[in-house]
Symmetry: none
Subunit: 225 residues, 2 copies
């Protein structure tokens, strides 16, 4: 049974969605704002998040962005008709779909079904090992990285290092863990070797180099803004 998190400040909306979703057999949890949504997501994993754009405390976009830092849970955004449609795209942060309020619960449920079906299938396959963030695409199976449609060539060490970081996106990775993971626990080489490879990665990634954040005194983190 799939678990859904509904995030909206309006009680009525949450109730409507809950009613329909439970009728469809989903397990539903609620959050009243983005802040709470993030907290809940840290503790628990959902199959889908339905999130309003306009909310007190923390809006849907920011919450989406934050959650995407550590979870790949599909997200359906809800937005009022007035809120520019273009805006949604402008801020498109990997939400899987969006629905304009006022929405027909039936239509929403159809989308929910579609998204869940899609992601459930892909998890089964597990073969389709791909990470995407804006124009950055990392295909673990093909061992390729593309930036805005252009293939980026990388050396073996770059791949290993980068893939490891992307697989652990949003996590602080210590220099030690990076080195022992990519070079092997028995690497006793120069301390600066890691830095050099980080440099090469950044060079390869172009505009996405800022996704590799230096954690002074600790190591690095790959994050999706």
């Amino acid at each position: 049974m799939s678990k859904i998190l509904v995030v909206d400040d309006e009680y009525r909306i949450r109730q409507i969605i809950r009613k329909y979703a439970e009728f469809e057999g989903y397990e539903v949890e609620e959050a009243v704002d983005g802040m709470q949504a993030i907290e809940i997501c840290r503790k628990k994993e959902f199959d889908l998040i339905i999130m309003d754009v306009m909310m007190p405390e923390l809006d849907g976009f920011s919450a989406c962005r934050e959650i995407r830092k550590f979870r790949d849970t599909p997200i359906i955004m809800l937005s009022a008709r007035g809120e520019e449609y273009d805006k949604i795209h402008g801020f498109e942060l990997g939400s899987d779909d969006y629905v304009v309020k006022p929405f027909s619960p039936k239509e929403l449920m159809m989308r929910v079904g579609a998204v869940i079906k899609r992601t459930a299938k892909s998890e089964d396959a597990a073969k389709n090992d791909v990470f995407t963030y804006k124009g950055l695409e990392v295909d673990f199976a093909a061992r390729t990285v593309t930036v805005d449609g252009n293939r980026v060539e990388m050396t073996p060490k770059e791949y290993e290092l980068f893939f490891y970081m992307v697989r652990n996106k949003g996590l602080a990775l210590t220099r030690e863990s990076l080195i022992s993971e990519v070079w092997g626990y028995d690497f006793f080489g120069d301390e600066r070797t890691l830095d050099t490879h980080i440099k090469l990665l950044r060079k390869s990634l172009g505009e996405y180099s800022k996704c590799i954040v230096t954690l002074r005194g600790v190591g690095y983190r790959f994050e999706t803004v």
Copy 2:
């Protein structure tokens, strides 16, 4: 029942196409931009893709190019009137048809029907699955390879190696997997044997030798630019 993927950033357009397509008995899925289209295509196979040219995140051409790397799904491109240049460009990238916006849904559906019928037929004819990329033709059933119309003779090992690579086009294949697949898991011979056969393959393939990409420290990958 044929499955169609509709890729357009405008909800209205998607709705219209969905409505008509479902009326015709097709199963429809949607994507809002090129990036999403690629992701969905990785997970699922469609009989046809209808894709807008102008989209945020990743335009239709780039998406088309990307999808063609791992799928041969026919594609119909949509573009606003006046984007004449695109027409040429689109066909070059292997889109199967082209419709100018604003289009008559009826006309679009006729084209959809035509393309699907065409590819369905050719798939029947080529029941004994063949792979083609430009002037390269690999007939798995007939066990033949032709380059620009000229038959290329290959030895058994070459066939096995090449066929395995083509069947897994776009995937990184490790030396180990290649060897155990083609030579058997119990092959204890020289490490360089694989290299030699790759060399022979490349020699046979002429201009298409560049489709066999060396993945340093890993193995090889067969890819269609």
